[in-house]
């Protein structure tokens, strides 16, 4: 009987409440289920609810903090957008560079970081931006080198800037354009971009001014390879001599050609190519100048792209800590908007005089970079995937495979073109590429491979950032504006 009482006294929907207050309230009309003591859910439910609520809470807190931080920085710079601007004037403009991260097929990640974390503050401050993306390694290097070469040519008077077809009221004089450019700024997202940028600067200011068409040069190099040669004397127009790639010597050879049965020897021989399109520039003009025109101040935005299975913990941490990225990006944008700059800190001068510091030369990351701006965001390089280091060997392997398969395809297309044999059933469905198409395909592949190789040479982690002593006076970096306390002190 006592056990029955114990069971029936457990709270259920039909048990009347026990204490006095509850009975009174029950008589007043409050439903009985409201008057019972609530009990905790079961252990499993407790575990589930605590885990989900923790995770959700972290996420929600993080996103709310992100919004708050972004709004705070936007409010700090909004006063610039409220200023009146004449109807024919233009706002301040910055150029944004973002290169491809090594190992990432998605080359847009750097620019997306800029758009998500830095751009909102620029938009709030009414600053215009030009986004320049690097789709492959070395794209930005080439682009900057070309721009600098055109600039040098204009400075020396070799090229005239073409007059605009339609003069418009917003045309600006060169001095005004130059002043706007210096007032603007450069934004560099990530260490690969920084390396590519410096390499492009160095190339642009050190290389020759002659107009060099990369495709033409590559075509000339490739034309001298005997890859597309064959038994009959069908020589390309550009080659000065034709070699025979086939082991069988043939009687039909042009008398002007130098007979050489081995391709390797011919490839190593350096041939003076007919430079019909090259311009002759005086030696005095072609030497690199000793001072370079100052560049607009640079904003170095640290950016790390996490890739791969092993970096998933970092990705999870970043997912719940996006406020750190928002703060970093907004802080960088604020620096750009407030326009406090300092000169660029290059490598220390003593480094060139004392090269025999053995302890430092063993490190991959040399200490000269830790105190100078050249070591910007060097920690990001530790996050490169290990597969990126094998990029040159991958390119070499692809090249080998392609050239091994090429003679067969070439023979097939030539036989079909000459009518030696008919198309098989498979070939009727997918016609094999003609010789012209094969040449074009080879050209495209070779240009892509050489571009990748050059670009990787710039970006690889064991190579330090390029530097030239002439840059020391021409570069500036954006820094935080001095806070009010330090202003009062100083």
């Amino acid at each position: 009987m006592s056990t029955d009482n114990v069971h029936t006294s457990s709270p259920s929907s039909s048990t009347p409440p026990s204490s006095g207050v509850r009975i009174v309230l029950g008589r007043l009309g409050i439903p009985s289920w409201l008057l019972q003591r609530p009990k905790l859910p079961s252990r499993n439910w407790l575990i589930f609810l605590s885990i989900t609520s923790t995770v959700t809470g972290c996420y929600i807190y993080d996103r709310r903090e992100c919004k708050r931080i972004r709004k705070e920085y936007q409010d700090k710079v909004r006063f610039l957008a409220e200023e009146p601007l004449g109807s024919l004037d233009l706002p301040r403009k910055v150029v944004v560079y973002a290169a491809k991260w090594p190992g990432d097929d998605d080359w847009d990640r750097g620019m997306r970081y800029f758009r998500k974390y830095v751009k909102p503050i620029l938009v709030a401050a009414a600053i215009d931006y030009d986004m320049i993306k690097g789709q492959r390694h070395g794209d930005i290097t080439r682009r900057i080198a070309d721009e600098i070469k055109t600039h040098r040519r204009e400075l020396l008077g070799l090229d005239k800037k073409s007059d605009s077809v339609m003069p418009s009221p917003t045309d600006q004089s060169p001095e005004v354009i130059r002043r706007r450019e210096l007032e603007g700024g450069l934004v560099i997202v990530g260490r690969p971009t920084f390396k590519e940028f410096m390499a492009g600067l160095k190339k642009g200011w050190s290389e020759t001014l002659r107009k060099v068409d990369r495709e033409e040069e590559l075509a000339q190099t490739l034309a001298d390879d005997g890859v597309f040669d064959e038994l009959e004397p069908e020589l390309e127009k550009g080659a000065l001599e034709g070699e025979d790639g086939e082991p069988i010597p043939t009687p039909s050879k042009l008398p002007s050609s130098v007979y050489s049965p081995f391709q390797q020897i011919a490839r190593q021989r350096s041939i003076p190519r007919p430079k019909s399109k090259a311009e002759e520039i005086a030696e005095t003009l072609d030497t690199p100048p000793s001072t370079i025109t100052t560049l607009p101040p640079m904003l170095l935005v640290p950016f790390t792209n996490h890739l791969g299975f092993k970096q998933i913990p970092y990705m999870l941490w970043d997912f719940f800590n996006e406020r750190a990225k928002v703060r970093a990006g907004s802080e960088a944008a604020y620096k750009l908007v407030m326009r406090h700059t300092r000169p660029f800190i290059g490598p220390p001068l003593s480094d060139s005089l004392v090269p025999s510091d053995t302890s430092t030369s063993l490190d991959v990351i040399t200490p000269i970079t830790t105190n100078s701006d050249l070591g910007f965001d060097i920690i990001a390089e530790t996050f490169y995937k290990s597969s990126t280091l094998s990029l040159p060997s991958e390119i070499a392997k692809a090249r080998k495979e392609y050239y091994n398969a090429l003679p067969a395809r070439l023979k097939a297309s030539r036989d079909i073109a000459r009518g030696v044999r008919e198309l098989t059933k498979d070939e009727r469905a997918n016609p094999p590429p003609t010789e012209v198409e094969l040449r074009a395909e080879r050209m495209k592949k070779e240009s892509r491979w050489t571009a990748d190789e050059e670009g990787w040479e710039v970006v690889r982690p064991d190579k330090p950032t390029e530097w030239d002593p002439r840059f020391a006076d021409a570069l500036e970096v954006f820094v935080e504006p001095p806070t009010e306390e330090s202003e009062k002190v100083s």
Partner: protein, 88 residues
């Protein structure tokens, strides 16, 4: 618009046509300006006279409208020039 290919009679005709179009454009812009500023500024018809507030509003409205139109024209001319230079 190059006029070197046309003789004098056609040139005169073309200039008349252009002048007429410009006049129409001007009238159109004026009517849009009046419509816009009236809708924006004058909402209280309890009195016939224009109050000083409305007067100030009309001044600001015309200023902004004309400046806006000038800026849009400048951007349009820039885009046009870019297109022309990329084509030629």
């Amino acid at each position: 618009m190059d006029f070197s290919t046309l003789n004098t009679a056609e040139q005169a005709h073309m200039s008349r046509v252009i002048e007429k179009k410009q006049m129409q454009d001007f009238m159109r812009m004026y009517s849009r300006l009046v419509d816009r500023c009236f809708n924006a500024c004058c909402n209280d018809f309890t009195s016939k006279a224009l109050s000083s507030k409305e007067e100030q509003c009309v001044l600001n409205c015309t200023d902004k409208f004309l400046k806006h139109s000038e800026r849009v024209g400048a951007r349009f001319a820039e885009q046009n020039a870019d297109m022309m230079s990329s084509q030629s």
